[in-house]
Homo-oligomer: 324 residues x 4
């Protein structure tokens, strides 16, 4: 299943080194002013090039295939594709039998019996997050009145992200990080009591982002270490406003009108320049692998806009399910 | 949406003080030996009564309504209901206008415009997890050859769970905890590259359990604080076996054949005997609320079997999607 | 899949001779006044007892399990069950190896490898339509302002239904019939351009009714024999009102505000008292089968209220997807 | 919803005069040999140009965007697009306020509040069936061992299709027709007892084809006019083979191993050269409309390959749900 959503439903397709990657949004409301340029600011934030990201930049030019007419969404499925630029697929031939530790090389090979496109990670590539960002930029327009903002709050165990990246660069290694996403202006009452709780929907989307290892809402894992008398948020207004926000804006799976707070843990970039041990799938021998090329030292640097995107996609779908 | 799944699809229904709660499993394979007694061991583990749980016990007697014939599943939808026992609903009238901090009282009222059944938390009650446990016990049978086992690894911030509970009992307060669930014997290749990653499916289900604030796989939030050279698991056999297991058994959203490791954070029980501040919804005045009755000091004590259940449900659905 | 719908989602469960049959409605709006008595008029119309139907009557007593509180829907899943009355299952043992022509005996056996409950047709029984009728009675309340009415317009090839039934009774045979369902008061704009066209949704539901062999909208099969200049309905008002209604209220899969017209073809009751040829599945021998008991001469007599039900269910779901 | 399917899931997108139309197949098995050329024979059959079809031909060149690598399907989503050729959109400006009788002009306008792309029918255009044909050609490969073949069995009320078309050409009018699709080699046991009956799935897809007014299986509407003793198909072998095939290969919603027979009714092409009456949506005045250009006299001529496509899509999805 490469689709998700009930009313605002998104599907992604494409491989890293294929002709293009793309996303179809079904159920996007008609009449939203939209141009390809509107997607550029968020796409720019996802791009590499800054310190700690790979110097290999991609041109992320969105091309509307359907669903937009006269500068507005039509209500029909909206498809955006991104042509893949010049790629050097030859690099991957030598890796074909050497699954990189931490990557999906081996699981993709097993699942698809070797028929998967292995070039650049194929359909498992982080490249696909460009689709999420495009969909997120449009979802943000559906979430009128809601402000969503994510940032990297910790990298390599340090809140001084810059220092952490410098240290990793020196070591020739990679580091992980934690993204915090906050959203205000959300009406109370979104979400469902059971399987479509707000946390269920957001976490489902979050774990489709490559490299995510954990997610927490409000007090999160800290809640497990607190007492109820401290953790319960006192309600101080009929609007549902609370004095503290350990709930992170959600009770019983339903938004309570307070700020939504979600944090996601990003593992260190799997691609590193240091030698690693893996198995040669054709011979069975254990070998040392050195992955050449230039990689993101801290892929988490590029994830905040993706976190905003999946939050916006989730909220858009929940908003469109709201009646009255 | 109170349903989840692609092939093995479960739906829950019922309110805490209504006639019954129940679960329908659609897509359960035919020919599985099954009796109501088979569900009792897991149901027993969820029950209260032990130290740290409420002394008010429920009779959890499963009743098959459909889908079982001659001691085997038929392949038609399998519905199990649990009649609700004697309940004292009068207690809830006084709470009607006083939403309890940390509960879904206020969000349920807003979402359903006051038409929700507020007695015992209604459809938002932890009572509904009995349905998950029943479905999980059946899902475990679908997951033949897979062993799933969860335990409470930390409560109130201590690994000495017993000591933590004693302290909370003395304080008249409640505490949270962390559950770790591990599963072995899972074939490589389950899950989908994008929206139906193994983590997406499990987390979606996990956040339908009341009181869950976070989830992590393998190294989880710890991954954000490590370096890639440490985090990447060396592959040491063509089977995909790795030397370490920071991945928690999943790469690129697909199982890799190693042990699945998932941890979930449970907040402290919201119902506590101590006075709390809330708003009177009819007058708007801030008031002090004391919730009477006996409650679970640490609801996390009862969650391990629920964590196993949702893991089994997720794996059963993914297994049934596997071909060859 | 025993579930259908996007927002107003229904699931059925149960076997003819099991403890009960039932239906869960997920996504039913809160605040609808509802009692079990409200379902009785439609349930009564489905019952047997009249000329041409079996004299063996069932007690169809709906029992709300969830989703109704203080005489109103709560917004949580609404489950209704019907306990099965005294059934004589012994009758079916002799049929176990003799699949009845025209029934699902053989296909059920093949699909579920003999684990299906064969008694009374099990999950394939027409008994299950009581669930559709219950859901339909509730869906009609969701379809406020819409009037839905179906009738048997032809039986055994005659518009004089009474004469047709008398003839079939005399012959000891069974006959089929055609039901026409019309609905007025439907707003224009329901349905989706492609896979969820109004016709797609209604036909999907209609073919879950046992014994249905065909469906047509507006001019239906007659359209294939007409010319465009005759068939196109002239538009005579900005509301979309047309002079004729060959479209049956739908253009491009979307309601146009005119009367919805749908007709379904019901085959003759498969259970007849006359001797029939079938294969003995254990010996492979061809044998003559005589099905004892009393049967509906014309099951189509009982289908109009079921046709209304599935139309109401479809419209309720489409209405709840409409925004603005 | 512009998606359909459980495992083999297809989504369509695009407008007639937009950059392209396309289809994404999710859940297509890996390892199927596939090239763009493989789609051409079926695409050719859908094309216009023959007597009775419009002389305005489109170039239907399929372009794989994803899901194919080294001449085989990868198992990841497979997207095919068809660039739209030179279109003369200016023609449609004059029609903007004059909804054509029999078309979706008015319902599209109402549903999408005028934001729909009206050029060439936009997303409602028959052009979209090229996507179904492409998906069908791939689905046929999934349906290994199954032969699916459809033909036009009646046009304008005549089985002599040629004579009917000549008459319509002379009259400057359009005619409808009936397509019969037959499939052999289908294993018994496909389909679900209730909402996903084989008929439900096929009819759901069939009514997404523009201009379809009815569908019937096996004896179809004729069943309503027969007696049970004639209609029931005698079972003559343990394989489920029957002497007659009034069931059309389906009992209780499940395939029985006999030939699948389905017929669909296609209305006369709505676009005709004769003057028609409609309402001017901006003035409210009733006016006479003459639609210029050259149209299909009998669009049903181009539907057989589309009928095969939706049958193949339905069967592929049902086959992939079959276990063992």
């Amino acid at each position: 299943m490469n689709s998700f959503g009930t009313i605002f439903r998104i599907s992604v397709f494409g491989e890293s080194h294929g002709p293009a990657v793309g996303v179809t949004m079904d159920g996007c409301p008609h009449g939203i002013a939209l141009s390809e340029e509107d997607l550029l600011p968020d796409l720019e934030r996802r791009k590499s090039g800054a310190k700690g990201t790979t110097p290999r930049t991609e041109t992320d030019s969105p091309e509307f295939i359907s669903g937009v007419h006269n500068g507005h969404t039509t209500g029909a499925p909206l498809t955006v594709i991104f042509r893949n630029g010049n790629v050097r697929s030859a690099d991957y031939d030598s890796l074909k039998d050497m699954p990189r530790p931490g990557h999906a090389d081996l699981t993709a090979r097993v699942k698809f019996k070797g028929f998967n496109d292995p070039r650049g990670g194929g359909h498992f590539s982080g490249r696909l997050t460009v689709c999420l960002v495009a969909a997120g930029a449009i979802a943000k327009k559906v979430c009128e009145g809601i402000s969503i903002r994510a940032k990297l709050v910790e990298a390599g165990g340090l809140t001084d992200v810059d220092a952490a990246i410098d240290a990793a660069l020196t070591a020739g290694d990679s580091i992980g990080g934690i993204i915090e996403c906050r959203a205000t202006g959300i009406p109370a009452g979104l979400g469902e009591p059971f399987f479509n709780s707000v946390e269920s929907v957001i976490s489902h989307l979050a774990f489709s982002i490559p490299a995510i290892k954990g997610i927490e809402f409000g007090s999160g894992f800290g809640a497990a270490r607190t007492r109820g008398s401290v953790h319960n948020d006192s309600i101080i207004a009929r609007s549902g406003k609370t004095s503290t926000n350990n709930a992170g804006g959600i009770n019983g799976g339903i938004t309570n009108g307070n700020e939504l707070i979600v944090r996601i843990a990003v593992k260190p970039t799997s691609s590193i320049g240091l030698p690693q041990r893996t198995v040669n799938m054709s011979t069975g021998a254990l070998e040392t692998l050195v992955v050449l090329g230039r990689h993101d030292v801290c892929i988490a640097l590029r994830v905040p806009v993706v976190a905003e995107a999946i939050t916006a996609i989730a909220l858009a779908d929940l908003l469109l399910q709201k009646r009255d």
